[in-house]
Symmetry: C2
Subunit: 344 residues, 2 copies
DNA sequence: CCCACTTGCTAATCCGATTTAACAAGCTGG
DNA sequence: CCAGCTTGTTAAATCGGATTAGCAAGTGGG
């Protein structure tokens, strides 16, 4: 691209030294003796010429490209993706690394081909990322490489995983409800997804419910019912409408994600019930919409930025990677949808 | 990263030829004579050894890294970003290119530093992208390089731009309203942003309004009023509530983006008005929320995927880049929020 | 005065490809 | 029978750095 770049040879020539000296001076290495004068001349020449090292050439020798490859299923198409990528990018940038972002769309051939493309470019490490937390089987090209699993788990695959701490998130939701005084009329919408309806729910649903039930029980409260359904906005609308139509009068709704909450809001609104006056709503994810609903939604946030950041930080640590599961805390976003239970 | 890779020298040795022959055979080049037998042996050896070329080494010689760098302001944090990136990635992938994604967060020092990092890695081209359509002044490091401007314009900077065709989008919105029979009681919410309230609106607002007014006029209709305001959900809610409170009874609302529409829905709902029975709503962007509102929102879609794709395709075309503005069509998403005007 | 040891620097090699220049062997036509 | 062409192949240079091995000049001790 465009005119010839200044090379180290140019710098060496201008400073009147060999390229060896220039290389050591520029790298700031002290394991070879260079006079202060020579060092200064090299640095000055580099400065004047606007010298920038050619990372491509360097990595041919050093085997390090300061580059990390990220392979995802369809991470760019989810509303969260941006934060994951941003977290990863910023962590990479702090250590002078750059990120190749790729997406395989769930196609395992595409996945292999992308991993190859990344490997051909000599990336220092690979991050294998999933749109939602789930179990995966990474492509065989990844075996034996420096890999971090982002938002997914692969038992038997020797690599660290970075996932949200869903169980604790469930506990936090329960604590928030208890703190507001709720002990009765609590319904969970979305359920465990034990018989997975929405793949997204397999891990999230189970773990959130586990933490929720655990703390509710300890707090002397309990779930009046659990509605098992898919996790879309229309599902929330339909199921909550049905619940009300059956004569139930919930005091608090734990929606397993924000889209369900939005559907629940629609159903409650149509039934003339107010949030949180008549019914409190708490949920998980903290999508954009959560803060814009009326009333703003109290929800336990998926820590996407932190997830991306930690995944990159792990790859950048020196030494081999340990196959440990890192659980990232999910902070509770307290807004306006949880209130004291309606009396009577 | 991990064990030694197979090099071309290995392949040549196994095939019993020189690395020159191996190189030409693998590249499929015919400008040097190679016997069919030798060619076959090389290919077979490569296959058996699982040889993959080292792109880093190759590009040192060829000056082409098959890599494109994308620098954005804060593209990852917007709900649209995913599609832009996906379009860019897929276009790159089709031509065996990979994408470095970076984000400067609007900081021009960070921008320069990122461009350098990209240039140091010898990217073949750069894409300078903005979150929303606006005028930009690219960092000086970009001058003289192979650059495409994505979702932004920089008069005086010799590079092609790829932007949405906002004027035509405004025309389409007007046509949709006319087709449904609307000629009176049409209000625009969000306005021209001529005195920019929301930076996002500077170009989008002006051009959408221009197209809208043009076609409305030609169709014998006109705007009853234009509300100038910011472009967030609360603004839509507030302004439409105010409009109704003042006694106005709009038949159709043209909201300048989907967030405004969502706010308008909230206000209309609170006033007991139905969409589209009492009031039709049409808007721009087609964010995720548009299809999930009740009723689903008719909106003119921002072609993010196409934008990303075209930007990459331009960089991949051979020859110098022409400083042309490419306007990408914005398709109308007809859903359920536009109906015949209320009678009486 | 000579040997050993610093000090300061450079020549040469390597990394893994691509590409240029050249060369050996076989064939053909005069 | 030999010059000249074709055919098939390879040695060597190159890209831009990092690294290893080694060398010349100066210093100090005996």
């Amino acid at each position: 691209m465009s005119e010839r770049r200044i090379t180290m040879a140019d710098v060496a020539r201008k400073a009147g030294v060999s390229s060896t000296t220039a290389s050591f001076a520029l790298a700031g290495r002290t394991d070879m003796r260079i006079s202060d004068a020579a060092r200064a001349r090299v640095l000055e020449a580099a400065e004047e010429l606007g010298y920038r090292p050619n990372v491509t050439a360097r990595s041919l020798r050093t085997k390090s490209t300061q580059t990390i490859g990220l392979v995802s299923d369809r991470i760019t198409t989810t509303p969260f993706a941006g934060d994951v990528i941003r977290g990863a990018m910023e962590a990479a940038r702090e250590r002078d690394n750059l990120l190749f972002i790729t997406e395989a769309g769930g196609d395992s051939d595409a996945e292999s081909s992308l991993v190859h493309a990344l490997l051909d470019r000599q990336v220092d490490a690979l991050i294998y990322a999933s749109m939602f937390t789930r179990y995966v089987t990474p492509p065989k090209e990844l075996f034996g490489r420096r890999v971090v699993l982002l938002n997914c788990l692969a038992p038997g695959f020797a690599a660290p995983s970075v996932v949200p701490d869903e169980v604790e998130a469930g506990r936090d939701a329960a604590r928030a409800l208890l703190a507001a005084g709720h002990t009765e009329g609590i319904w969970a919408i979305g359920g465990h997804q034990a018989l997975p309806a929405t793949p997204e729910g397999i891990i999230a649903g189970n773990e959130r419910m586990r933490g929720l039930e655990e703390v509710l029980r300890e707090g002397g409260a309990r779930l009046e019912g659990v509605v098992e359904c898919d996790w879309g906005t229309p599902d929330g609308h339909r199921e909550v409408s049905a619940l009300l139509a059956q004569g139930h009068r919930p005091r608090a709704l734990v929606c397993l994600n924000d889209r369900l909450s939005f559907g629940a809001y629609q159903a409650l609104g149509e039934a003339g019930l107010s949030v949180p006056g008549d019914v409190s709503v708490i949920s998980f994810d903290d999508q954009d919409i959560a803060s814009v609903l009326r009333p703003a939604l109290t929800t336990v946030r998926l820590p996407h930025y932190q997830l991306g950041r930690l995944a990159v930080e792990l790859t950048l640590r020196s030494g081999p990677l340990e196959a440990v599961v890192h659980r990232v805390p999910m902070p509770l976003q307290e807004r306006a949808s949880v209130g004291a239970p309606a009396t009577g």
